[in-house]
């Protein structure tokens, strides 16, 4: 039995949660794994309805929320893109949220604008879960990333986590860096100079007592890593293709790079990946990105049960 009380709580930003609360969510998520895998049946959310309001497409996040709700016996309604909704007719988000509040018990929102989930939470008495707001927060992604590290490594504090790739624009890595620092992980930021972690994130991490290593060479930084968290470097960030290809090539995980890695180092990636992880890496024991994607389901199951206050 969990003591964590989250009834009607909104999940907008990872910064709204304490380390103890995140620990509680992760513990609960690990109990959900057999149900998420379909090995055990549950009806705890029987009669409850989830609204998935996706003003921006996101297959993985939406499907894992829907899977989580259905695995717990609940129902789902919503839309996967805004073109067929009254947003087209000029309806405010506030009004759309009031409608979803009337039709369901919990709301999951993905929106292209920063702050949309906080606004939604203000207008809804039913709990709102942020599934990504523009370049802002994506707290359930952060939670499933933490859960993956915890379940693969047994702990988060003291673990050497190497965040690499596009650290400047990749939104998941900003809140992940914050959360990892809350848990006292050792952080290394490996990126080309033009895509390094923004100064405000570095400052924020330091204020939490973690001194991150700033590194530009993956070859140098990979050997110390317990976890390598890979993000995609996007073509659009570079003025010319040659420069992009040079940079992308230097931040790619393949079998050669892995020779320098610890035996039990794990590779994570928020997906979709393109070329930043070679396909032959998939079959090595390092590859945990598909497990990580699966972990989205038990973590979201735990959150849905907690905010609706039902216990498995």
């Amino acid at each position: 039995m969990h003591m964590l009380k989250m009834k009607d709580r909104d999940v907008v930003s990872i910064g709204d949660f304490t380390v103890e609360e995140i620990e509680g969510i992760m513990d609960y998520a690990s109990e959900m794994v057999p149900i998420a895998k379909g090995e055990k049946k549950s009806k705890v959310l029987d009669g409850k309805i989830l609204s998935t309001l996706f003003f921006e497409p996101s297959t993985r996040t939406r499907l894992s929320f829907e899977s989580a709700m259905l695995r717990l016996g609940g129902g789902v309604l919503g839309f996967a893109e805004p073109s067929a909704t009254s947003a087209k007719k000029g309806e405010t988000l506030a009004d759309t949220i009031r409608m979803a509040e009337a039709y369901s018990d919990v709301i999951v929102l993905r929106h292209p604008r920063e702050g949309a989930a906080r606004l939604a939470a203000k207008f809804s008495s039913k709990p709102v879960i942020n599934a990504g707001d523009g370049a802002g927060q994506h707290p359930t992604q952060t939670l499933l990333d933490l859960f993956t590290i915890k379940s693969e490594k047994g702990k988060i504090g003291g673990i050497n986590v190497n965040l690499m790739g596009d650290l400047k624009y990749g939104r998941t890595v900003h809140s992940l860096a914050h959360a990892l620092a809350m848990f006292g992980a050792d952080l290394t930021f490996t990126a080309p100079k033009e895509l390094q972690m923004p100064e405000h994130v570095v400052k924020n991490v330091k204020s939490l007592g973690v001194k991150p290593k700033i590194e530009s060479s993956l070859e140098k930084s990979i050997s110390a890593a317990d976890v390598v968290y890979v993000t995609r470097i996007q073509k659009e960030r570079f003025p010319d293709l040659a420069e992009y290809e040079k940079v992308a090539g230097a931040y790619r995980i393949d079998m050669d790079v892995l020779e320098k890695a610890k035996k039990d180092m794990i590779i994570m990636h928020p997906l979709p990946r393109v070329t930043e992880i070679a396909p032959e890496v998939d079959s090595t024991p390092h590859a945990k990105y598909f497990t990580q994607a699966f972990n989205g389901v038990p973590v979201r199951m735990a959150l849905l049960s907690l905010v609706l206050e039902v216990r498995e």
Binding site: A87, K88, G90, T92, E114, L119
Partner: protein
């Protein structure tokens, strides 16, 4: 240094202890422009006992509304407001730097939900809202998009 060679006012408002250099911003907040109809004195960069230098603004026949007060508290957190009636100080108050700022500053992030217009050009029914992270220097963070607002003074509504 009490003599500023400026006439005392009969009725109106004296805003004292404005941070040096900010007087013109105070004038702007009060909406004083080319259509001004009463005597306005702006005194800038005078030695102050409290701080090194300060600005003072005196406006005849005019008192401040609550919104103006809030804005002045934001850009001049040390200011004192003297209401003058018949040459006497009828009321003297110190502005209070706010803990939350709501409806007087707009978020600078164009992609913030508070700046979103619907296809019918309407805004979301909320006022921009900020938490005050520090008053000196003034640092505000948007409650919605969680971005820090740079140069908040430039974004007064």
């Amino acid at each position: 240094m009490k003599e500023f060679r400026i006439q005392p006012i009969k009725n109106g408002t004296v805003i004292d202890h404005i941070d040096s250099g900010k007087a013109l911003k105070v004038i702007k907040i009060m909406g004083i422009d080319e259509n001004v109809t009463s005597v306005v004195s702006v005194i800038m960069h005078v030695p102050s006992s409290k701080k090194d230098f300060k600005d003072i603004v005196k406006v005849e026949d005019r008192e401040l509304n609550p919104k103006e007060l809030k804005k002045i508290a934001l850009i001049a957190p040390n200011a004192t407001i003297n209401i003058i009636r018949d040459y006497e100080v009828a009321k003297k108050t110190k502005v209070k730097p706010p803990e939350k700022v709501s409806g007087i500053v707009r978020c600078a992030n164009p992609n913030c939900i508070t700046n979103a217009r619907t296809s019918m050009e309407t805004f979301e029914p909320v006022e921009p809202e900020f938490t005050v992270e520090s008053t000196k220097p003034l640092r505000l963070r948007c409650v919605y998009c969680e971005r820090e607002l740079e140069n908040p003074e430039e974004h007064l509504i």
